[in-house]
């Protein structure tokens, strides 16, 4: 059982739209922040701010220590050693870092150890039809740059992956399999083990988009068996502007960097550069130090609550949302009510005859914040026969009353727009 955490989140006490209580159901887009995170960032700036990994004065030492401690905390949160965690400005950049590493290797950079990342004609990159654009476009563009072919595991009519096509989609020619840990539209959690097993059979590198899972479920990257995983700070109660790429050390040390600058290097001459080992080789220039410290405070906060309890709380919220939606005439739930590996605290809906923007407007008028549009998953929406949808997504602070308030207002939408159901 989760304790009542709402008092930890100052923003949740504000009112919206003429004094109504805020019902924040847009955590899939970005989460609200607890005092612990806000204070950690402020504390760093007030007392310890200095340039990390440069200079020898006391503040530089304290800042470097806080930054590296934050790395260890966030790494431990996903069951990984600190040296396998690369700070990035967000999950999108983390996924691009991997794809661009493949591109750099394919351009001939990175020496002999980068050979495993070299792609060309005849090689295949596999994604799924359910990906967020951030885990689709980098691979699509990598294919275009290298001559490799992009393939995708298709989805069923309910948006779930067609695992029966895994064998024919992931073949001996597959070099990368990139997939999401949980759909940001349906909330359905992926059967990671099955995809990883197939990828290993054919020797493909696996890249997991863990943006929607790390904030909500217990995640151990070593147990999952993937090779890379990306996630962001702002969806896990942490600050914007920071995220992380986790990768197996031997892969990170072999992947050529694709962003260049100070601090990531061993020796620089006018002709050449040699890189530091990972993770530093991927961290040129000034890093988001305060944000990394805030992200670590968020990991600590979630860890203290216990991710098993967090997941159980969100499972309950998700069940109320989705079961409730199925009882409203004229409203279609995208994705199943339940799934073998679970579903996040998400209900994404299409209201017959009413555009998602109009649905969101009615909810917003009652103080209920949801996401409307394609949620950066246009191919999945197209496959489901929709241009967009309305998504309610919860987090640790979401209450059952809030889930019910959403359902109550959602049920009024068809009649407000004169749609008879």
């Amino acid at each position: 059982m989760l304790p009542d955490v709402r008092r930890d989140f100052p923003l949740l006490t504000r009112t919206v739209r003429n004094g109504k209580s805020l019902v924040y159901l847009d955590s899939g887009a970005t989460s609200q922040k607890p005092h612990a995170v806000l204070n950690a960032e402020a504390d760093f700036y007030q007392f310890h701010n200095g340039a990390v990994a440069r200079g020898a004065h006391l503040l530089a030492e304290e800042a470097t220590d806080a930054f590296e401690t934050a790395r260890a905390t966030v790494a431990a949160f996903i069951g990984a050693p600190a040296e396998e965690l690369v700070w990035t400005p967000g999950a999108t950049q983390a996924l691009n870092l991997v794809a661009n590493g493949f591109a750099a290797a394919s351009d001939g950079l990175g020496g002999a150890e980068a050979a495993r990342f070299r792609l060309g004609s005849g090689d295949e990159i596999v994604v799924t039809e359910a990906e967020h654009h951030a885990n689709l476009i980098p691979w699509q563009q990598l294919a275009a740059r290298t001559g490799a072919t992009l393939r995708w595991i298709p989805v069923n009519d309910d948006g779930t992956l067609r695992y029966e096509e895994l064998g024919s989609m992931v073949t001996e020619r597959a070099r990368v399999v990139a997939f999401t840990h949980a759909s940001n539209v349906t909330g359905v959690v992926t059967d990671v083990a099955t995809i990883v097993a197939r990828a290993r059979e054919v020797g493909a590198v696996t890249v997991l988009d863990a943006c929607q899972s790390v904030p909500h479920l217990p995640v151990s990257v070593t147990e999952l068996g993937v090779d890379f995983a990306a996630f962001s700070g702002h969806k896990m109660l942490g600050p914007t502007g920071v995220g992380a790429l986790w990768g197996r050390k031997e892969l990170l040390d072999a992947l050529p960097p694709s962003l260049y600058g100070g601090s990531a290097i061993k020796i620089v001459t006018m002709e050449n550069t040699t890189w530091l080992d990972a993770p530093q080789r991927f961290e040129p220039g000034t890093q988001p130090v305060a944000q990394a410290i805030g992200m670590a405070a968020a990991a600590q906060y979630l860890g203290d609550l216990g991710m098993t309890a967090v997941a159980e709380h969100e499972r309950r919220i998700g069940a109320i949302l989705r079961e409730g939606v199925t009882e409203i005439p004229g409203v279609r739930l995208l994705g199943p009510v339940d799934a073998p590996h679970g579903v996040l605290a998400i209900a994404t809906v299409a209201v017959d005859g009413v555009h998602p923007h109009d649905v969101g407007q009615v909810l917003d008028d009652r103080g209920i914040a949801v996401r409307v549009g394609h949620h950066c998953a246009q191919p999945l929406h197209r496959r489901l026969g929709l241009a967009g949808s309305t998504r309610a997504s919860g987090h640790v602070y979401t209450t059952e009353d809030e889930a019910r308030a959403f359902l109550e207002v959602l049920a009024t939408v068809p009649s407000f727009f004169g749609v008879t159901v």
Binding site: H357, D365, H374, A387, F416
Partner: protein, 158 residues
């Protein structure tokens, strides 16, 4: 009237349900222009075609999909602009833009008269995220008119 009701006034709901000008019309006119506009936040689209004869906008037709605000707005503008002069189209557009930036407050009498049914969109000005919806068709109209004036016999873009 609540903010929500003032945004979705009956006239808007009516236009959204039975839109004017829907269905692209094939035009045999010397000056035809077409514009395709997309609202990137939601993927709503409109393809709008105008015919210009001399100084008169003789035809406005369109196809597209979107929210009730965008659909109603295109319907209203079709009614307002068809048969009017190019100059009138321009000042009407300017008045509508002004209405959108007026934070939900009505405009002066002169511009209210110009806007007719389009004054019903006054409530949209309170919601910055929805202003783009209401302007989608107007953007297409302006672009199509520019193209029509530059065209000689049915040039159009994508």
């Amino acid at each position: 009237m609540s903010d929500l009701e003032s945004m979705y006034q009956q006239v808007i709901m009516d236009h959204a349900r039975e839109a004017h000008g829907r269905g692209l019309v094939t035009l045999d006119l010397p000056h035809v222009g077409e514009s395709h506009q997309v609202n990137t936040t939601c993927g709503d689209e409109v393809r709008l075609r105008v015919g210009v004869d001399g100084d008169t906008v003789t035809s406005v037709s369109w196809e597209g999909s979107g929210c009730s605000i965008s659909q109603a707005s295109i319907s209203v503008l079709s009614e307002l602009i068809e048969g009017e002069s190019l100059g009138h189209a321009e000042v009407t557009y300017e008045a509508f833009r002004a209405l959108m930036s007026n934070r939900g407050e009505p405009l002066d009498e002169f511009r209210e008269d110009l806007l007719g049914d389009a004054t019903a969109f006054v409530g949209v000005g309170k919601y910055p995220a929805r202003i783009k919806c209401a302007l989608l068709g107007w953007m297409a109209l302006r672009d199509a008119l520019v193209k029509a004036q530059a065209s000689d016999k049915g040039d159009s873009d994508d």
